[in-house]
Subunit: 550 residues, 2 copies
């Protein structure tokens, strides 16, 4: 029998995973990987960290070579080779050697498209300046690393995951860094209040944030590149890193007539087959299903890409045993100096815009037992379906243990767990690692309290003067960090001071972290007050946003 010809376009995350899994499943298949760039299977998520010097040795990011993949997997890898055209009828792809310009047709029985996504580059005056960089591959990394020296000024445009990592790493290398972000917050992948911690951490490291702003023009002025912002400000930089998102590389798929989604991604079924059943696609360029609600979604992240490649290979070589890709939930995390924040599933912003029926709660606690050395604050927000109680999304921000809680919530979403289930998760507890009631349990408790009508919450302080706002923090804390318009009645004295409150007027209780104000609201509610508790406490008020931000 003629061996099956497998052709793979793109040799990084999805393409490399696909090729490796294909070889495990078939020793006889002829597997060829075409990669436009000079490198395959490199560690693209590590690029910022080599630029900043945290990963000092470049080689660790480029462990595999065509030769090593040949030895390990018996896969033929052709780098610096671009796929030009798919001839679906004859099942062949025209490829071109980037250096020699020579082209040839390669046959396939099954084709895998893993072209990835390219950094978005806006059409702005001056965008072509050689000092405006984007970061996708090792060559990009080398360029930025060569350009970036301690003492220089860098402007990072875009404060998503890569923008924040670049800002951190350039600062780590000794540069002065400014960040320009089109929206009102950094990391729009999480809700604004959770992003506060990241913003404060950036400012704490003297990184200037220009929120609600954008570059409208780059002007090369001698040694300096001037970034003209919409606000009228001009930032001077030695170079700029653009990180405002990615665009799927789908020209090849489009030209071949494969079905694309509303936003231009390659449409695939649950086994990663495109509209042509002999052509699979995986990774940043494809549109799969949202794991929570099922609608089409593109999640350009490494984890989904790797697992999609695996699903496709299973479907080709053992279709009777292959399991469908279950969809993506956009679990992601970023570290910014000493803090981290991330999200899984849907954010409140997204649920709101989609008109979903959800509820939310934010809780503050610590990553482990407070009495154990090193306890640091941690914030957790969860969102759930009002009717079923099922978790729809979760976010965490803090110094330590953020990744753990995101992973628990991601697993809970995969299991369709409810807030009641979160309350009763039995997580690993010893003082160095957690609490007898972990913050995930606390979030579950708080959600159940909402569901059971034990508490009503507000997320901002009322401006209506008829509302009595009761600050139940201890007096020294309240005095040191007063909230205007409140009356301080520390929680332990509340029951003895009920007569100071007017039962005919609504009450909002607040405290530092949201727990004591819930306790206070229970006391007041049972004494007949119309009372709401400030969700997440003073800590979560957006007006605590650091005024040093610009």
């Amino acid at each position: 029998m003629k061996p099956m010809q497998i052709l793979v376009i793109g040799g990084v995350a999805a393409g490399a995973s696909f090729a490796a899994r294909a070889r495990r499943l078939s020793e006889s298949a002829q597997i060829t990987v075409i990669e436009r760039g000079p490198d395959v299977s490199f560690a693209n998520c590590g690029l910022p960290y080599h630029i900043g010097g945290e990963i000092p040795v470049r080689d660790v990011l480029a462990v595999q070579t065509p030769a090593s993949l040949k030895a390990l997997l018996n896969v033929d890898v052709r780098v610096r080779t671009e796929a030009m055209q798919i001839d679906r009828e004859n099942r062949r792809v025209l490829v071109r050697d980037v250096q020699s310009g020579q082209s040839e047709w390669l046959n396939y029985d099954k084709l895998m498209l893993a072209p990835g996504a390219a950094p978005r580059v806006p059409d702005l005056p001056g965008i072509g300046d050689a000092r405006v960089f984007t970061l996708r591959n090792l060559a990009d990394m080398d360029k930025i690393a060569a350009a970036a020296n301690a003492g220089m000024r860098a402007v990072v445009v875009g404060a998503g995951f890569i923008g924040l990592e670049m800002a951190e790493q350039l600062h780590h290398k000794g540069l002065t860094v400014e960040v320009v972000q089109i929206g009102a917050q950094v990391l729009p992948q999480i809700d604004a209040k959770l992003a506060l911690l990241l913003e404060n951490e950036l400012v704490h490291h003297d990184i200037k944030l220009h929120l609600n702003d954008q570059v409208v023009r780059f002007d090369g002025q001698g040694d300096a590149l001037h970034c003209q912002l919409a606000s009228g400000k001009t930032l001077e930089a030695d170079f700029v890193v653009l990180s405002i998102g990615v665009e799927p590389e789908t020209r090849l798929a489009k030209d071949a007539g494969l079905t694309l989604g509303a936003r231009g991604h390659i449409v695939v079924n649950d086994f990663m087959q495109t509209s042509d059943a002999t052509i699979y696609a995986a990774g940043d360029a494809v549109e799969t299903r949202d794991r929570v609600f099922g609608q089409p979604v593109n999640v350009p992240l490494g984890g989904p890409a790797n697992r999609q490649g695996r699903v496709a290979a299973d479907h080709i070589f053992m279709p009777e045993k292959a399991r469908p890709y279950p969809g993506s939930m956009a679990t992601a995390i970023v570290r910014v100096f000493g803090v981290a924040a991330g999200s899984t599933g849907w954010t409140e912003d997204r649920l709101q815009k989609a008109g979903r029926d959800y509820r939310a709660v934010t809780v503050n606690d610590y990553q482990h037992a407070t009495y154990f050395p090193g306890a640091m604050p941690l914030t957790l927000k969860i969102l759930w379906d009002t009717q079923t109680g099922e978790l729809l999304g979760g976010q965490a921000a803090g110094h330590d243990g953020v990744d753990k809680r995101l992973d628990v919530l991601a697993t809970a979403i995969a299991g369709k767990l409810t807030v009641e289930d979160l309350a009763h998760l039995e997580l690993a507890y010893a003082p160095p690692f957690g609490s007898a009631k972990d913050i995930v349990n606390l979030a579950g408790f708080a959600a159940c309290n909402q569901r059971d009508g034990l508490v009503e919450t507000v997320t901002e302080l009322p401006v209506d003067a008829s509302v009595q706002i009761i600050d139940v923090r201890g007096k020294p804390v309240a005095d040191a960090n007063p909230v205007p318009g409140t009356v301080n009645i520390p929680m332990p004295t509340l029951r003895a001071n009920l007569e100071r409150l007017d039962k005919s007027r609504p009450v909002v209780t607040l405290c530092a972290m949201g727990k004591n104000s819930y306790f206070a609201s229970r006391v007041l509610k049972q004494h007949g007050f119309d009372v709401k508790s400030l969700d997440g406490g003073v800590k979560m008020l957006l007006n605590t946003r650091n005024p040093a931000k610009m």
Copy 2:
């Protein structure tokens, strides 16, 4: 209406959580907590760490006092008060002031029994020596802390969670520590191979382990306490800490005629009601349901205790909204110096003894991207139902990220996730926090490979000389740490060396961590060999056990 009288016996984890939740649900109830000891609501899991000095300030372990609980919760706490007898007919409890000896009857409408469990003390000659300690409360802690000084010799009897924590902390304080353990491994709550890391870490810190041994007699010999072991060895110590398990404190319940379980725990329903519906029980003394298989189980840990107290209070004050306690899965973790290990759900040892139909796989990887600084080895073992693929248990051991993986697996068990679901968990990935394919995904992949018949595994090397054992590690590694009776054919050279192998004889492949030997087994299987891969690699062979252990 007469306020409801709530009486609580025991004021630590379950009792205190119950009282607090009861107060949130009812401002009018009269809540009284009876505690035999001098302290309430103290941090019992922190006790070893104050003895060792890692938690330097004692006060952080005893934050609540009767006065603070009165102020915060309007709960009457009576410390140094012992419950002597329950008069169920008249709904009252006879309590005795431990100091004055005076007693009185306290009425209840609902009674909560949260008596906890006491350290097991074996009936051995010399057991009454004042230098033999157990650790349950702050008073015990103070005694040990007062007795333990740097330079002394301590013997810890029992290598469960508390024994290991005590060994670590006494070493931390500068003592010479020996550990006596009745079984063949430390921490019988996990499988032997996972416990290796803990054992090696103890030995690395010059803590002598006496496995398969036990104390048969204590002899006070002047300044030294001689611990006579069954093996004939005598250990000299300045003091001994006994940590060989706990016994539920159920005399009160038993005398009152409440139903006890086969092993003497208080039987409760899913709402924590005992056989007397007006009497609830929670915490270390009760028998609830196993969350995996549903049979009666006692899990004496802080997390379950706290949540059980909450369930009981909900059932009393809002029975229509109360949710049943879902059972316990015995999630637990221990840190021993620089490493940690733990378990959730069922271990292989337990599944085997129960005759369950399960399968298991052990994978080795790192806690985060290998190219990111600080990557440390991590081992994960999962067990699943052969028929359904549902996760039955999981264990982890390593330097960092152990708690995270246990929490993910515990959440997966709660969600009845299968190994396929584990393969497709979308966990938070950035290089400082994880890998694009997290070790949990890898375990899912490996389990699916078993299920799909892609690989067969062995957990020990065959002794049958007809089996060809192929070591596919690189030559330098294999030369440095050879495995007797193997032939070294590095993975990248395997395809070129197939003719060196005899297809008529079975093959076992091995590598360092279990991954390359799986790859090799796929190559060989497809070339017609009868091949099995060594699960978890050389790292998991029990004969790698450190010979310095005694």
